[in-house]
Symmetry: C2
Subunit: 226 residues, 2 copies
Amino acid sequence: MPKIVAIVSGGMDSVTMAHQLKEQGHDLHLLSVDYGQRHRKEHRFAAAAAERLGAVHQVADLSAMGALLRGSSLTDPTVDVPEQTWTGYGESPNIVPNRNALLLSVAFAVAVAEKAQAVAIGIMADDTVSVPDSTPAFLESFIAMERIATAGYAHPDLDLLAPLSGLGKKDVVTLGERLGVPWTETWTCLRGQDDHCARCAACWERQEAFTAAGVQDPTIYQEHQS
Amino acid sequence: MPKIVAIVSGGMDSVTMAHQLKEQGHDLHLLSVDYGQRHRKEHRFAAAAAERLGAVHQVADLSAMGALLRGSSLTDPTVDVPEQTWTGYGESPNIVPNRNALLLSVAFAVAVAEKAQAVAIGIMADDTVSVPDSTPAFLESFIAMERIATAGYAHPDLDLLAPLSGLGKKDVVTLGERLGVPWTETWTCLRGQDDHCARCAACWERQEAFTAAGVQDPTIYQEHQS
């Protein structure tokens, strides 16, 4: 089976993807990218996944990018992570613009060095609603660009996989349950504290997904003062 | 005039580009990227250019990428920078595959944060011979991808400029002379030692360009034992 560089943050989507790729028999190379996010503790869960799956795990330290990515709650210490609220397209402070383009550029550079045939990213259907660099049009455009950028250096059949792109968060929980993903070994919370906060947008989605899938949520959430 | 994030390494091409953009009256934001290259001392010359031109200068520290970019003489300490020799397409150890895609992804993330209208890169015509991510097809593909990736976040007229793309190295020297570029305040050598080595592929091109342009080369080159 071809070698795949899989971008695994340590969140429930990317960890489920890694388990799925392993089940399919791929030669897995897990890559986490530290872009200065508050919740970089997620990488410890990516490392745990790699150990379970017998895969290599690398962390690309781009943490200095955080200081350049001003205006996002994930990377700018002057912007708080908001309590979950609905925000329209282009309005969420939790978006890091161009993040997926950056992560994928790093991953394709690694794919060339590792002579991998593909890069995989754990984007799922719900991400496309508010994140422009998660849409199918973006992914198609990105692989077209990379085939030009790495011609003569990369694997001749270079590809970009987004195996969860047809799934909602609920479906990811269902898939992960089947694959035996230990959910407490995944990290979602944007605040990156000791326990999941239960109130940021990412924690909200996590809780909703378990409920919708009918799977008991084993996550430890912080207790909040009322 | 629009704000431009210009990728300036400190080499003669990118520094000449910065002078040209300044002459055109742009609001300049210079960005250097440390991707773990041996010759990262070039950034000190990018900083000098920024000071001369009254521009902001940032260095994005991606130096940890060097350890992931195995196989290139620029980033892999186990691969020596060769003496200048002709190598065919896809064969030069001095290529860092996907480097321009990586640099541009960083620059576009910065462009969004800085509300800049464009990113500029100092690719010139000679680069397209052996570096796939320097070709016009690559640049067209990249900006198409970025317009999708940053939609709703970036400047609505987001663009990618490569103002030297029609010029050979000789033409860059001619242009830089007219613009008053202080050549000793630029760095080319891939070995990154005290003085230019005069023998790596980049030094070779530098010397040839001055000769072809009929401009005296003020560079201090190392003396070699015969």
